[in-house]
């Protein structure tokens, strides 16, 4: 009998040598081992995390380099033997054990492209139920679950679907937004690489719900591994006939992968739809909203990968099973992503209501550098900074907004005390300059002026006057930008100025190393 050994094929695990580790285990283990390439458990600081299946459960070792493999065999790791890299049973590691994994239930557990393992671990149950329901009932179930968009805006998914269902056009589209451009976020990537069928199932259910027969997944080009996995998964899914078949054998719900071309703004839904039509990703004025007039002018739903990936659970287990999690108007769970200078970086799926402190300090274990935390940027490049004294905030759409911050896509970037906040504010403006779609002046020109003004402040030129100019500029961008790119760029700038006013008073001494 060969022993099952799991070595992740998630891009983050590959980035620190998982392929070499798998090759070495195969070489030394021969036919004693059966290597399975799973997704990542999300404990990224332990990657490559190797797991061995034992009668007691899966035993974890990590971070394993190819140099460690020999000593693993010497300590009889195939029987779960003790080793300095050992962590005992994976599912008992507190970081993992204390999570509430609904959307990420299978990620890291199974081979992402093993459709039988998918089904054996709860997959397809949601679709099976949906196939017996009317479109109205499907939409109602999603509505009742309280699910809100995980792409940033937090709009109730069921309401959006209801609008699309009400349209009488014979052609409608269901689109997944996998542009995941926010720094500090990687949950879409991990879900697509670790459990691609869950996204497909969510889209097929959505297709039944709004009566669309065609779907597009728009994946950023920076994610070659995810693109490959999604394409293979669609092929496997369609070959199995899981979307049903027309008389000519073609799938009833046809899915396509489209690859972005390096433009952050293409994550904004109207820009994404323009890009899907082969055009410049320029933002469009709403209304009309995409649910009424979207891709090729047809009713179109755009949902984030995590939103759609949560749908199978909701259908399989019922709206109330999902809505039981969370707090206030933030229902269910959020896959938080711990990034930047963090000791235990990775993915933590928790019900809304968990505090920032718990995420960053209990799960994250503080900084990787060992230095004190200066601030956390929540919600990506357009999100605000939160200083440690605000870490008791409970994570939710409204609770964060009250702090002048936002949930965004659930990314948390940790900065240590050496961070120069004026430099970070300048970067926010620079990023807006680089990624602006160019449609409106406050964003296109304001970002350039903002950057120059911060340069002057940093150089100590007319500081008080320039701080005032910067404030005015932020007002203008917030009020007069067409979309959140220009409209929210002031958020990181302003929160940095508010929390660290001393750093906007002229040249700062480089912090001690």
């Amino acid at each position: 009998m060969s022993v099952k050994v799991y070595v992740p094929c998630d891009a983050a695990a590959l980035s620190v040598g998982a392929d070499d580790v798998a090759a070495k285990i195969a070489k030394l283990g021969g036919d004693k081992v059966d290597i399975i390439r799973n997704g990542s458990r999300g404990m990224l600081w332990l990657e490559p995390l190797v797991e061995v299946e034992t009668p007691k459960g899966r035993v974890a070792y990590g971070p394993v380099t190819s140099k460690d493999v020999e000593s693993l065999f010497e300590t009889d790791f195939l029987k779960g033997g003790d080793h300095e890299l050992g962590h005992g049973l994976t599912e008992h590691i507190p970081y993992f054990k204390n999570q509430e994994r609904l959307t990420f239930a299978r990620v890291g557990v199974i081979d992402p492209l093993d459709i039988n393992a998918y089904e054996a671990n709860g997959g397809i149950a949601g679709l099976t139920k949906a196939l017996k329901m009317t479109p109205e009932d499907i939409v109602e179930e999603v509505l009742k679950s309280g699910l809100r968009g995980r792409g940033g805006a937090g709009f109730p998914t069921g309401i959006k679907w209801k609008t699309a269902l009400a349209q009488t056009d014979s052609q409608k589209y269901m689109c997944a937004n996998a542009d995941e451009g926010d720094s500090g976020t990687f949950a879409d990537r991990m879900l697509m690489e670790g459990d691609p069928f869950s996204l497909i199932e969510g889209m097929v259910i959505g297709g039944l719900g709004i009566e669309a027969d065609t779907g597009y997944i728009y994946i950023r080009s920076e994610y070659p591994h995810a693109i490959k996995t999604m394409r293979k998964a669609i092929e496997i899914w369609e070959n199995k006939g899981l979307s049903g078949r027309h008389d000519d054998g073609t799938p009833r719900f046809k899915l396509h992968v489209r690859v972005g071309a390096g433009a952050y703004i293409c994550g904004e839904e109207s820009s994404m739809l323009e890009s899907l039509e082969g055009k410049r990703g320029q933002v469009k004025v709403k209304p009309p909203i995409p649910a009424i007039k979207g891709l090729f002018d047809k009713p179109t739903i755009v949902n984030n990968v995590l939103t759609l990936g949560s749908v199978p659970f909701i259908l399989a287990n019922g709206a109330s099973a999902y809505a039981e999690y969370g707090q206030g108007r933030s229902k269910g769970t959020q896959p938080f992503q711990l990034a930047g200078d963090i000791k235990q970086g990775g993915l933590v799926e928790k019900a809304f209501g968990v505090t920032l402190d718990e995420l960053v300090n209990n799960y994250g274990g503080g900084t990787r550098s060992g230095r004190p935390i200066k601030a956390v940027q929540a919600g990506g490049p357009l999100g605000g900074y939160i200083a440690p004294k605000g870490f008791n905030v409970e994570m939710g759409y409204e609770t964060l907004a009250e702090q002048g911050a936002m949930l965004g896509h659930g990314g948390l970037v940790v900065y240590n005390d050496t961070t120069n906040m004026a430099k970070m504010a300048r970067y926010a403006m620079e990023f807006c300059e680089i990624e602006s779609c160019g449609k409106c002046t406050p964003c296109r020109v304001g970002s350039v002026r903002g950057k120059e003004t911060i340069d002057k402040i940093m150089a100590g030129n007319n500081v008080a006057a320039n701080v005032e100019i910067l404030e005015d500029l932020c007002d203008l961008m917030e009020e007069a930008s067409l979309c959140a790119m220009g409209g929210l760029t002031p958020m990181p700038v302003r929160t940095a100025m508010k929390i660290f006013p001393d750093e906007f008073k002229g040249p700062v001494k480089e912090a001690a190393e």
Binding site: S183, A261, N416
Partner: protein, 169 residues
């Protein structure tokens, strides 16, 4: 030369060389303008950049104006109009990688490879990326679509070399 047919549009295309590969790609995408991004990706993958000839051919095949295709190509950071270095190192300079010192890594890399970030290069070019989805294991780098994490200058030299050797063999 593009085969002549009765389309008057050809006047602008006369005297230009047709890119046979680009034409094939367009045909495989049904000569549809909605597939423009995919077509451009495929052509760039083959040639490393999008030449004037390729641009004209694609515009003709999918029936859009030269101005329109220029508009699309210039909008997206991925598409390159000039021949690229033999190796492009994409370094993430977004926030989470800044938090773990990518700015110093970029300086060291500029020195080591004797090029400037986004400044081109013949053998090696350093290109800024804005998040590679490896934000818990930064600094992150990508070469030939392969992702690397916790990169320091020594590791960068090593992987750059590894990929150059790999592409020669």
């Amino acid at each position: 030369m593009i085969a002549l047919n009765e389309e008057p549009k050809l006047v602008t295309l006369i005297n230009t060389t047709e890119d046979a590969f680009a034409r094939q790609v367009c045909e495989s995408y049904g000569d549809k303008a909605e597939n423009l991004l995919e077509i451009l990706h495929a052509v760039q993958y083959e040639h490393g950049f999008i030449s004037d000839g390729a641009l004209r051919t694609i515009a003709y095949q999918v029936n859009i104006s030269r101005a329109e295709i220029h508009g699309v190509v210039s909008f997206y950071h991925d598409y390159k109009r000039e021949k690229q270095a033999r190796q492009t190192i994409k370094i993430c300079r977004a926030e989470a990688c800044q938090a773990v010192g990518v700015d110093s890594l970029i300086k060291e890399a500029e020195q080591n490879f004797d090029v400037k970030l986004d400044g081109g290069g013949k053998e090696i070019a350093l290109q800024a990326a804005y998040c590679l989805g490896n934000c818990a294991l930064g600094p992150a780098v990508m070469i030939d679509n392969e992702l690397y994490g916790r990169v320091d200058i020594e590791k960068l030299k090593h992987i750059s070399m590894k990929h150059r050797e790999g592409s020669r063999s």
